[in-house]
Symmetry: D2
Subunit: 496 residues, 4 copies
Amino acid sequence: MRSSVPSLRLPCSAAATQVSVFDTDDKPHEQCGVFGIIGDPDAAQMCYLGLHALQHRGQEGAGIVSSDGSALHSVTGLGLVSEVFSDASKLAPLVGSAAIGHNRYSTSGAASALANVQPFVAGYRFGQLAVAHNGNLVNYRSLRHELESKGSIFSTTSDTEVILHLIATSAARPLIARIVEACESLSGAFSLVFLTADKLIAVRDPHGFRPLVMGRRPNGAVVFASETSALDLISAEYVREVNPGEVIAVDVNDMLIATSYLLTRKPRKSCVFEHIYFSSPNSIIFGHPVHASRYNFGAALARESPAPGADIVIPVPDSGLFAALGFAGASGVPFKQGLIRSHYVGRSFIAPNQEERDLAVKLKLAPVEGILAGKSVVVIDDSIVRGTTSSKIVRLIKNEGKAREVHMRIACPPIVGSCYYGVDTPRAEELISNRLGVNELRQEIGCDSLGFLSLESMKGAFGEGRHMLCDACFTRKYPVTAPEPLAAEVGDEAED
Amino acid sequence: MRSSVPSLRLPCSAAATQVSVFDTDDKPHEQCGVFGIIGDPDAAQMCYLGLHALQHRGQEGAGIVSSDGSALHSVTGLGLVSEVFSDASKLAPLVGSAAIGHNRYSTSGAASALANVQPFVAGYRFGQLAVAHNGNLVNYRSLRHELESKGSIFSTTSDTEVILHLIATSAARPLIARIVEACESLSGAFSLVFLTADKLIAVRDPHGFRPLVMGRRPNGAVVFASETSALDLISAEYVREVNPGEVIAVDVNDMLIATSYLLTRKPRKSCVFEHIYFSSPNSIIFGHPVHASRYNFGAALARESPAPGADIVIPVPDSGLFAALGFAGASGVPFKQGLIRSHYVGRSFIAPNQEERDLAVKLKLAPVEGILAGKSVVVIDDSIVRGTTSSKIVRLIKNEGKAREVHMRIACPPIVGSCYYGVDTPRAEELISNRLGVNELRQEIGCDSLGFLSLESMKGAFGEGRHMLCDACFTRKYPVTAPEPLAAEVGDEAED
Amino acid sequence: MRSSVPSLRLPCSAAATQVSVFDTDDKPHEQCGVFGIIGDPDAAQMCYLGLHALQHRGQEGAGIVSSDGSALHSVTGLGLVSEVFSDASKLAPLVGSAAIGHNRYSTSGAASALANVQPFVAGYRFGQLAVAHNGNLVNYRSLRHELESKGSIFSTTSDTEVILHLIATSAARPLIARIVEACESLSGAFSLVFLTADKLIAVRDPHGFRPLVMGRRPNGAVVFASETSALDLISAEYVREVNPGEVIAVDVNDMLIATSYLLTRKPRKSCVFEHIYFSSPNSIIFGHPVHASRYNFGAALARESPAPGADIVIPVPDSGLFAALGFAGASGVPFKQGLIRSHYVGRSFIAPNQEERDLAVKLKLAPVEGILAGKSVVVIDDSIVRGTTSSKIVRLIKNEGKAREVHMRIACPPIVGSCYYGVDTPRAEELISNRLGVNELRQEIGCDSLGFLSLESMKGAFGEGRHMLCDACFTRKYPVTAPEPLAAEVGDEAED
Amino acid sequence: MRSSVPSLRLPCSAAATQVSVFDTDDKPHEQCGVFGIIGDPDAAQMCYLGLHALQHRGQEGAGIVSSDGSALHSVTGLGLVSEVFSDASKLAPLVGSAAIGHNRYSTSGAASALANVQPFVAGYRFGQLAVAHNGNLVNYRSLRHELESKGSIFSTTSDTEVILHLIATSAARPLIARIVEACESLSGAFSLVFLTADKLIAVRDPHGFRPLVMGRRPNGAVVFASETSALDLISAEYVREVNPGEVIAVDVNDMLIATSYLLTRKPRKSCVFEHIYFSSPNSIIFGHPVHASRYNFGAALARESPAPGADIVIPVPDSGLFAALGFAGASGVPFKQGLIRSHYVGRSFIAPNQEERDLAVKLKLAPVEGILAGKSVVVIDDSIVRGTTSSKIVRLIKNEGKAREVHMRIACPPIVGSCYYGVDTPRAEELISNRLGVNELRQEIGCDSLGFLSLESMKGAFGEGRHMLCDACFTRKYPVTAPEPLAAEVGDEAED
């Protein structure tokens, strides 16, 4: 799901002269989590809990659409799940035994549009249809161009809307055939859940870029979710992944499950960053437990890029934790918590006239001088994107924590390619590893040594299934052609 | 603009166990006011003021869309203009020299959907297109059915959305031709303003059901508005009505005005209720000053249905004021203000366990005992719809005001037909004059005498142009066939 | 109740670069309405309704305190009654059969402090005590100084707080004796209602500056209110005024009514502006119906200051209405509604770069050209304070309404004295009639003739009881010495 | 600061039928953090940052009062610092070079009263005085009784208000002498910061129950704060503790620092729970780094209560982290992160009809099956209060995490005494260790073994200064007599 054109119904944006603390986060960002459930008397409540368990995949907005068997009901809003559904009354309209939900990722600093919060609901000739999408369509512009040339109008700036149009313009019957026909046109990453009055349908793109799993609750309800963490929370058993290219439909009346596949077959290319950073450590993603991958990446990093003479290993919390434990376990260097992360800063601001240049980072991460002072410290981070934060962290550890040496170790390879499959990475020229070699980067960051995990080591550490991973951000080998040039703008047909 | 299907994106509605004071208003309700301006450096601010002047036409929501010459910007919200645009920062995003705005009418008691607040903005092959609509399309369902069968999807439940689809699916060029082609398909009432990146277009249906006027500001800006009151407020000169069937386009670059007409010609049928109740008394509607019509209706009523022996004439404020002055002027019975209207009650509630049955009316209207006590009182109201309020007013005047006699006079004929052209009237069976004759109604209301203005007298009082009026609500002679039966539901195509 | 020192707990105020429409109102402003009820199972609901009926006396804040027989419960907030009590759940905590309420007047443009919203509740040695106050204490500063010198601390900047301190420091018993002792110290205007766990007490200052009436509901509940309009709304019978200097206590257990009087006896000095402008036209104030006073003022004005050759008489709505009817009745010049008042503008803003200088007035008052054009118009306003609005109204009627002549008639004498008894009037030097004689003022306003009602005529028109009126704002004959010089600041004792 | 009497100005509370996630937290709760700064051009901004660093000490409300040298300015509100100060405009009114701030602790489930949010500001004979308080006065009731008997009125239900009254009723001069005199009367815990127009004063009770430190910014500004973490964030150097019984005053004009002491000398009794749970791990409290205490408590626990045969050690995050690292370090059992804590749940709710009994805990803590399955797991928690959560955590680890054995180790002794010095602990009968011995508790919790750290070991691990600790919650040896019996109610003097 992406949102590239200025939003149409944007609520007016405050002119932000203050610095948001969000801006200090130098991470790629997942774009959304999806959830669906059918056959549960508390479908909306289960959906609400599932979205809680997927909250880390998107914080800009959240929404739930339920079906009561004949009509859809929708509640969407900007903000966290706990803000959109601030009390039980917010769930009250969402009656029925089937529901889908969506967490939307927050584009830092940009004005947010309520109209772009999913699930989208549309009326068409066969009734109502709702959809929630995780991923990104690389052929969105050409699809939209084609649909517009046939007379379609668009009420959002999201690539997800083209999917609804493609289904609405399909002549195929029944619904599952329309969905297959529509999805055959899509290129890129899509893990989708659809809801109609009587059916829940899950679809995953042929490459299997983004995760999507299936589970079952003790009461027989069928669940789909981006991660197994959402299954665990509602005591649903993990059944299996939705396979790449698979379309699974469940009927609300008889709970029969119909499975089919998109014709297009593609090599599996599952996003390795789900294991590096995005997914919850307690999730099983692409069949592998995430915490184990991270631990193994850290251990491999210790072997490949050791820090001889180091006194302690500390993570950049929270994302570097498991890799730091792996590094400590493999190297024998003691693990310590040398940086304390505040979990309250959220939407704090810092006045622009603030003298302290590293204040935003300090507000989030507090160094523990008693642990760091005089030490040679290995700092484990999961990744470096723009490189804007690493130097601040090093200064924090050295100047405030009084560390003697800082050895930074990154539990993945240098990022050199933008992602076109549902991850918000900056443009290639903004990626620091495209501009600086490792040694230059070390100087820029100001640490005493710097090491990345090599691609080979990372895949080795991942183990079985290593060949199914998409590594385009490290290699620029894109499994699907990058998006058409921007020349093909939307709504661009020339008048006479 | 209408909203007949359950709303899709409805924010959850509080279960209302309390009685809203709004429910006490036994009036037909106008559905919306529209405004457009082009060629003004303060276009959005002028639009904001224009919507203030049209606030009486709709209080559920308000919105403005502006064009900066290349892109549209939108701010919409639920509530009054002063609530949606609560401070100047709310107008800040609305840059550019052209803008359109809309006031949405409040459906009493129903949950309101932000998605249904106009102006609507859509992207299509030629760029962005915004629209604001006053009126009601009688062939909405068949148009939507037809569009859906060709693959269109709908994101609102408003009839206005079909207009955007019709334009998007039109093959005609340039824009004005597409608009003409689209509007040729429409049946019913529509006063429309459109905005694109570089054009403002006003359209009025061939019958001219709803008002739409054109004006010009001293700086040359061209203005369209539902009523001349909006022109007055921003010191725009009233140029003329947009003619029935006329399409007027103004280009932002050269300010050239292009006028054309829909092919369909129809007899003029302008809504007489604009003069009876809806429009602001200081507006000129269909070329006639509203205050004068009302005064004349009251004077005609005095002649046709006098109240011999009455001591005073009082209006039901505020809408009965001018007719009461007319009645007093023609009859010589002194005009008094025997009922005081509170202007603060707005969204007040009354707890349901309230012992006082007439409390909601008392909260709004306070009788002045010193004026009413012991008197024979003529009470002038503009109309009776369901008849739910009149008896309460009579009780108020008799029991609390201690009046000796109450002679109710209504400044229009009995309402016997629902309106299909943009006025929210109850279904025919709920119209009290369909159930009770004048004498029965008098008994039900509890007044000592009751008189309506006859259709002939009303038209006579209106004077020149009387033949151009739509009087279907008094005669059930509908200029356009009533809507297709509800059997033709939207999104109703059967699956195999 | 006044609030002269910068508020302590002020919520941060938006830097207002926009012009509030409120600023266009050139009227003195009443400071508050009070209400109390005891012996009613729906005490809080009755209080809520009573505050609605008194809403015109203050719009800045509202609050209700109830007693359940052993403890007090409080809900207060900024804004209108319908905003503070936005749904029935807001009344839910206010259990018990006794309650008092307060409407707070809105100081235009100033930051409002929630801490200053009444009723105030305090704990002291005998339990809890709540108070609501209409009026102004002229010896507030010396009382506060004295209390502070004995160790009292103040949590508000309201003069009302000293009353609570005086009661708390009184050695007298029982409660009514403490209240009498405390109120003996007060100088100025005070209509008060107190609530304790088991008693409702009403007090009025010896001059009887501000109104306070007593009523009884059919169920036996005893009611106190600033105006009879609040009695009418809840079907309470008007019993009598609380007499000047009277203290009436009602016990919740036996409903016994105990009356006593302050020792101090003073000549009655009731505020004539209650009849000119403040009170609701349907209220009976100081035993006189307000609508009749206004009509008589207008009639006297017609005799004293006729406008020969005038075609029509129009009011400045809504406050000039009854005087205009009186003028029309006495002069024979026809009454017309030449200005339409918008009741939606409320908290609207106008961007400061607005070219139109009279826009704020136009937003509120719309001239009806068809009534005014070419006419010699008598315009009736109730009063002129700073004179800032009158010229705008004259321009509106002449330029936009196209009137030939405008003859302004003011239904009270020129205001030359600030009020120290609970009315918010500007300082003496800002009163236009202190700077300009009638003829100069006519030129400034731009009308063709200008006439004020003389004090003698006004009193004559008032009739019986004319000698009991406070007319200090017209004569500067203050019944109570003006407040001590500002030198005596609060919290001003010098440190060593 | 405590708030024991029903709040007077309580905003109406929603009847909560839903279960708050907050309820799952079985911890004692700190009551508030305080901050003060003087001599800084950005005083309010520094205060805002300081409150951020102290946010863990209280989340119910926050406030800042600044002085511009002649007047105080205040902004307070309910919620987190980032909610009360949601954008930079909220700080705008807080001008001046001195400021104090306060974080208020959230009483779970209770209605919160804005009136009780500190700093409190009062006017008294010498001007304005503001105060922020961390701690609890055990003689609040008798002080309030005494003050009320002399005529004081109370506008809050907080013990802090008596301090202001005591200062106001003091005859001493200058200010510092009044503060000393007032504080001599206080019994219990108080770390206080006061602000007047020209002075910042910090006071700590003679026992030194709660922490309070002094620091200095590079620009010379003097800072007081509950914890050194607040100094670190604003780059203030840690100077020293405010000594028990010390009063430090700083003048805004000359920045001179005057120190004096309360006459009463008491043995030092500093709250050991600051080290066990409350304070930030990167703070230095009572001269000891908190992270080191916790590590040492964990190491001592491993020695005293080992878990032979255990496979892994995991913390209950986040508070058990350092103790778990200490346990792992001392025992050689590997440290793992077997529970993942969600940092988004905040104000989430769970519908009451939820079948899952342990859901609230699961929403906050997710077990990592891949780490726990089949293992013998040592779980380190910092403390057990009611014992309501421990059994849920054990079930989580066993049932969902599939652990073979769970050995719970608590890094402090059993809690058997309520705290009267500023910590919110339940009444003695609700403390599980008062009802169950260790073995019974083990059965109740359902773990395979249970061990607490003994008091001796804890003090031994604390090292130097062990004798200065208050351990009343473990020993019921209260350094200050427990509060007077509740019989002495406030506002309780009998009427005749």
